[in-house]
């Protein structure tokens, strides 16, 4: 092909050259899959997923809904963003898949399918995750309505029920916030284990201090302002030395927001966050000071003027006495004095919906699977190592009985009352 005069002139631009590469070679759609273009994203899906509609965005992936043809149920499909952008991203993808393959509880968002159109581990670049379709998340729900006290009770109870299970498996959620709580029309809740905190789940259990990973993690999280608003103060004060009650603090912040209609501690940064927290719950007492491991943090707090804990009755005039009592016990600065998940489940505020005999914990097989570090995972250092591990996780789930065993959680019409 002859070059035009214009292109010839442009060829003199430094750092740029022109060549005719011809048309891009057609990409081959693997057998059993079909290709759909939706919202400027290419989806390559098994034949049984059809009628795609855009849904929006989950953490670290784009999401659509699709119809599962054999049953007509609609599902949510998430296409992971660049799962192999770095070894940290790959590690997260692996750990999320491993956890989702392992955890099973009706208040925890479950994976019902996972697939890749890529033919083998070495060429693995696209990973899709399928879950039941929940109506929305709590953050978006709160934007358009104020929930009733009964609805709040039922929601909080289910969140705590899900946390009980997660904690029994040795996992701390650490990033509980309204956008990580999926809710449907029937007020059913599923806690969403979002991508962003998975890298800490197993580390937290073993109390391994991996500052390299922590730094990268924090660097990303600080870009998401809302993440900090629900974070327990000891995460900021003791940096990675924390326990499961960090999640109780988050539930307290969420309960306060549900009751009052606005975020409780919308901090601009770490220090502003802590300042806002102390302005409500007061400055810490001596017994808590001694638990703060960072000398700089201790000095920072000591140098501040003492603040007395605010009266929650004044702060939350709309809240019922039982709600206030639970809030008081959840929003305690000292994590050792904060109410536990188990005790919170028995609190009078949740009595109406409490079913003590139906609050399952993780089975030993689940715990063993999570706490056991696969030797291959321990040895993994390169992206191709992680590709192999993720490929195996995909195959394990695809061969399990749990694949595609689900019922829709979305109402299109009212169902008969169950007894």
């Amino acid at each position: 092909m002859g070059m035009s005069a214009t292109m010839g002139d442009s060829a003199s631009i430094p750092g740029v050259f022109f060549a005719d590469f011809g048309p891009a070679p057609p990409e081959i759609t693997p057998e059993g899959y079909h290709e759909v273009e939706l919202n400027k994203t290419k989806w390559v899906l098994p034949q049984w997923y059809n009628s795609l509609k855009p849904l929006g965005e989950g953490a670290y992936g784009v999401v659509c809904t699709a119809e599962y043809e054999p049953t007509g149920d609609r599902v949510a499909i998430k296409k992971f963003f660049r799962p192999f952008q770095s070894t940290i991203h790959a590690k997260r993808t692996y750990r999320e898949l491993k956890l989702l393959r392992t955890l099973q509880h009706d208040n925890v968002l479950e994976m019902i399918d996972v697939f890749t159109p890529d033919p083998d581990a070495s060429s693995l670049n696209n990973v899709y995750f399928v879950s039941v379709l929940m109506g929305s998340d709590l953050q978006n729900i709160m934007k358009i309505q104020r929930l009733t006290d009964e609805q709040i009770q039922l929601l909080i109870y289910q969140v705590l029920r899900g946390l009980k299970y997660i904690h029994s498996a040795g996992i701390i959620h650490r990033d509980l916030k309204p956008s990580n709580i999926a809710v449907n029309e029937r007020c059913e809740v599923k806690v969403f284990l979002s991508f962003s905190q998975l890298s800490f789940l197993i580390l937290s259990f073993f109390k391994i201090l991996d500052f390299g990973l922590a730094r990268a993690q924090d660097a990303e999280m600080t870009g998401y302002v809302a993440t900090r608003w629900y974070r327990a103060p000891e995460i900021m004060l003791n940096w990675m030395h924390y326990t499961q009650t960090v999640d109780v603090w988050s539930v307290g912040c969420i309960l306060a927001e549900l009751v009052s209609g606005r975020p409780l501690f919308p901090g601009d940064d770490h220090i502003d966050q802590l300042t806002k927290i102390m302005s409500v719950v007061g400055t810490p007492k001596e017994e808590f000071w001694s638990k703060i491991q960072s000398e700089e943090a201790r000095n920072y707090i000591k140098n501040r003027s003492p603040i007395i804990r605010q009266d929650f009755v004044t702060l939350f005039p709309m809240a019922s006495p039982y709600a206030l009592e639970l809030l008081e016990m959840m929003l305690i600065l000292d994590p050792d004095r904060r109410i536990s998940v188990s005790s919170a489940l028995r609190h009078d505020y949740l009595r109406e919906y409490s079913v003590p005999n139906d609050e399952p914990v993780a089975m030993d097989t689940v715990i063993n699977s999570i706490v056991t570090i696969d030797p291959a995972e321990e040895r993994a250092t390169t992206l191709s190592d992680w590709r192999e591990l993720i490929w195996n996780e995909i195959r394990l789930f695809q061969n399990s009985a749990r694949r595609l065993s689900f019922v829709s959680c979305t109402d299109t019409e009212e169902e008969p009352m169950k007894i």
Partner: protein, 336 residues
């Protein structure tokens, strides 16, 4: 299994579901028209026709890759940022696109070619440079070279002229000045990139969401009791830290484990400075000292900096060739 309690229906228990929010495409297509220079013709580029040549960098925002357009052979840097329904994040990207479009006539800014949306990401197509200041100075120290004062002077001059242009002409401040956002090429040019978190400058005391890479953040942005409106002097502080870092080979502050260590060091302790024994001139040391005034009311803005003797020397320096120095460093292979 008995589940009566949780599944009992109460009047009004049904929750109204909000309308799903689609991933915003920010009115972008998955192709765009680009011009390599102001004089050249426009060429249409489709995202699917770009081939990855190598990765240039990555961070919390996403990834930057060197890419080639298959049909024309044009090579560019493409920064891919996840599109987000988070308002602040979306606003930041809009600011970046807007700033990039309007920066054509500023030679100290990396040239913006165009923007697309594809696979959940905003794709920002830019001029490709040969290295970042971050990688460059680390490589220099690895091969046993130090960064000479004339390089520091000319680098700082380009950065300040670019920042001043953005402030004066487009009313934007950068807010993330650091070595990895300062790019170099073999022609000896120094350019700034990533006005991704620029905000329109106002004189009000409106609060801004915390921005700026923490290690380069000035004291007035850290101390909760003296927080103030962001202005260009925050970028001046970041530039001062950058100069010390490349001059001595390490960041002047240790890695902080908690925000309180940062608070203590940056807010409570004296500002860092160029070591007396480092061999830098008095004018250079004074310049850095002024950039790192802890009281931002005392810290100079760009016109005052540009008038200082150190900048005058950088402007007039004819013996030192940026191009030769940059090529010399880049062409030297590090041997263990």
């Amino acid at each position: 299994m008995e589940r009566k309690g949780r599944e009992r229906k109460l009047p009004g228990m049904k929750i109204v579901m909000p309308t799903p929010v689609e991933t915003p495409t920010m009115n972008l297509e998955d192709r765009c028209l680009i011009k390599l220079t102001n004089e050249s013709e426009e060429i249409e580029i489709a995202a699917t026709d770009l081939v990855v040549l190598e990765e240039l960098g990555k961070g919390g925002y996403g990834i930057v890759e060197k890419m080639q357009h298959r049909q024309s052979g044009i090579i560019m840097a493409v920064k891919r940022i996840k599109s987000s329904i988070n308002d602040q994040s979306q606003k930041q990207m809009l600011n970046e696109l807007d700033a990039c479009r309007r920066s054509d006539c500023c030679p100290q800014m990396v040239r913006f070619y165009g923007a697309m949306f594809r696979e959940g990401d905003v794709w920002i197509c830019m001029e490709v440079m040969d290295t970042s200041l971050d990688k460059f100075y680390r490589h220099a120290y690895k091969i046993g070279k130090h960064i000479p004062e004339p390089f520091i002077g000319k680098m700082a001059l380009s950065v300040i002229e670019g920042l001043n242009f953005m402030k004066e002409q487009l009313n934007l401040i950068h807010r993330d000045v650091k070595p990895s956002n300062i790019l170099l090429n073999r022609h000896g040019q120094v350019k700034i990139c990533d006005f991704g978190i620029s905000g329109h400058l106002t004189n009000s005391m409106a609060k801004t969401v915390q921005a700026g890479c923490k290690p380069y953040m000035p004291p007035e942005r850290i101390d909760g009791e003296t927080k103030s409106a962001y202005d260009v002097r925050a970028d001046v502080w970041s530039l001062g830290i950058t100069i010390i870092e490349i001059a001595v080979g390490t960041h002047p502050y240790a890695n902080w484990k908690t925000p309180f260590e940062q608070l203590k060091q940056v807010v409570k302790e004296p500002p860092p400075k160029l070591p007396m024994e480092s061999g830098f001139s008095v004018d250079c040391q004074y310049f850095v000292k002024r950039c790192l005034e802890k009281d931002y009311n005392e810290r100079p803005k760009y016109p005052e900096l540009l008038a200082m003797p150190f900048m005058e020397q950088a402007r007039n320096e004819k013996q030192f060739s940026m191009a030769r120095f940059i090529n010399e460093i880049l062409d030297t292979v590090w041997r263990r």
